[in-house]
Subunit: 235 residues, 2 copies
């Protein structure tokens, strides 16, 4: 069994800094976690907030703190630091080798999609961002790690793609089409989603967009763990 | 201009935990850093040490601390915590968008390779691991970010590949062959290196092996930032 994760991320048009932050870290008891945050507003201020939230969460996860407790702590920390005036969404997607589960933690009104083979479940129970209230709890979904799982989490920039031109993005339909194709890779799913949004926004995204796709497959490849990063440099 | 980074990592044969830790994080003023540590001995204890060192460094880098100061702080922290009895190698490879440079920080007797186009420089000035002495300073190499740069950093498992069977790995020669081919990707470089080592070790690595390859190219692709992780699960 193998887990592959792909992250694709683009900035709002004509801004120098994405307000979205994503980091992937190793879990101390095996497995890994993807932590994604989207800070309120855009540009430098938003980046500062999302970075604060992600850093807080990864520090706690690295100490072995459970995802839900880490999300609550990040919320309390932001609430304390900014007196409840600033919010950030937060998603944690973990492959936990200790419990052999996949854990989706959401402090985000934007849904997450979870598919087992081609059957897609929309995870949309009410959830609010961190930082605005004391004792904000995340919505947590935990499933066994089995081949055929697909998870898609994304920032609201994906949801709002096309709105400037009166169009809209049907993320569920896009994922359905992708899953109907032959074994789509996490990379294909993330890139296709972003490309669809990019076209709807006519190449000028109205917001920062981040897409994270995770796939669990029964592939028995080599035992090599791989990571890759591609960073375009403006110059 | 575009930077691509590939990490390939494999465990010592018949161990459940790699003593090597690698994390990639975003730098607060733009760009990113790869932090790699190899803890003394192997298995669980080594993992604990390398994780401690990497976490300490990424927390400092995220606060905007310079790479050299972060490495010294990690050394002092490990020295204090383990009374100078435990060591870890440490490499930091940073793409710093603020200074537009590539910074290679080494606390590792194992060299790093830096190539400009096909001309390879071996960075091997004496350097010792962190944790054994007070005030251990890293060796730092800083070059301008220009297309055609290649950097290879690796743990000593790559250097010692083949020793069990009386063979040896010529890393410099391998890189030369790869750079002579048409525009090798960071992924190709990292995977080829690991594969060569794997064969020399006859599929049973005598030590944890981590290879990090970085390439700067003049490619003008899309403005999408991408990250990918592939994690084999034993089951």
């Amino acid at each position: 069994m193998e887990v592959s994760i792909a992250v694709s991320k683009v900035r709002k048009y004509a801004t120098s800094n994405s307000g979205d932050t994503v980091e992937v870290i190793e879990r101390p008891n095996g497995g890994l976690s993807v932590v994604m945050a989207d800070g309120q507003s855009s540009g430098h201020g938003a980046k500062w907030i999302s970075t604060l939230v992600v850093r807080r969460v990864i520090t706690l996860l690295a100490d072995g703190v459970r995802d839900g407790a880490a999300a609550r702590a990040a919320s309390d920390a932001l609430y304390t630091e900014r007196k409840g005036k600033v919010s950030s969404t937060l998603n944690i997607l973990s492959v936990d080798k200790q419990t052999n589960t996949l854990v989706i933690t959401r402090n985000n009104p934007v849904p997450a999609l979870l598919a087992v083979d081609e059957v897609i479940q929309v995870i949309d129970e009410p959830s609010r961002p961190v930082g605005l209230y004391r004792d904000t709890r995340p919505s947590i979904t935990e499933v066994s790690l089995v081949p055929g799982l697909t998870v898609l989490i994304y920032s609201d920039g994906l949801v709002h793609a096309g709105e400037r031109t009166g169009q809209s993005m049907d993320i569920l339909a896009c994922l359905r089409v992708l899953l109907d194709s032959e074994e789509p890779s996490a990379r294909l799913i993330a890139d296709s989603m972003l490309e669809t949004a990019w076209k709807l926004d006519e190449g000028r995204p109205v917001d920062d967009i981040t897409v994270v796709a995770l796939r669990v497959t029964s592939v028995i490849g080599d035992s090599v763990r791989r990571m890759a990063v591609r960073l375009p440099l403006d110059s």
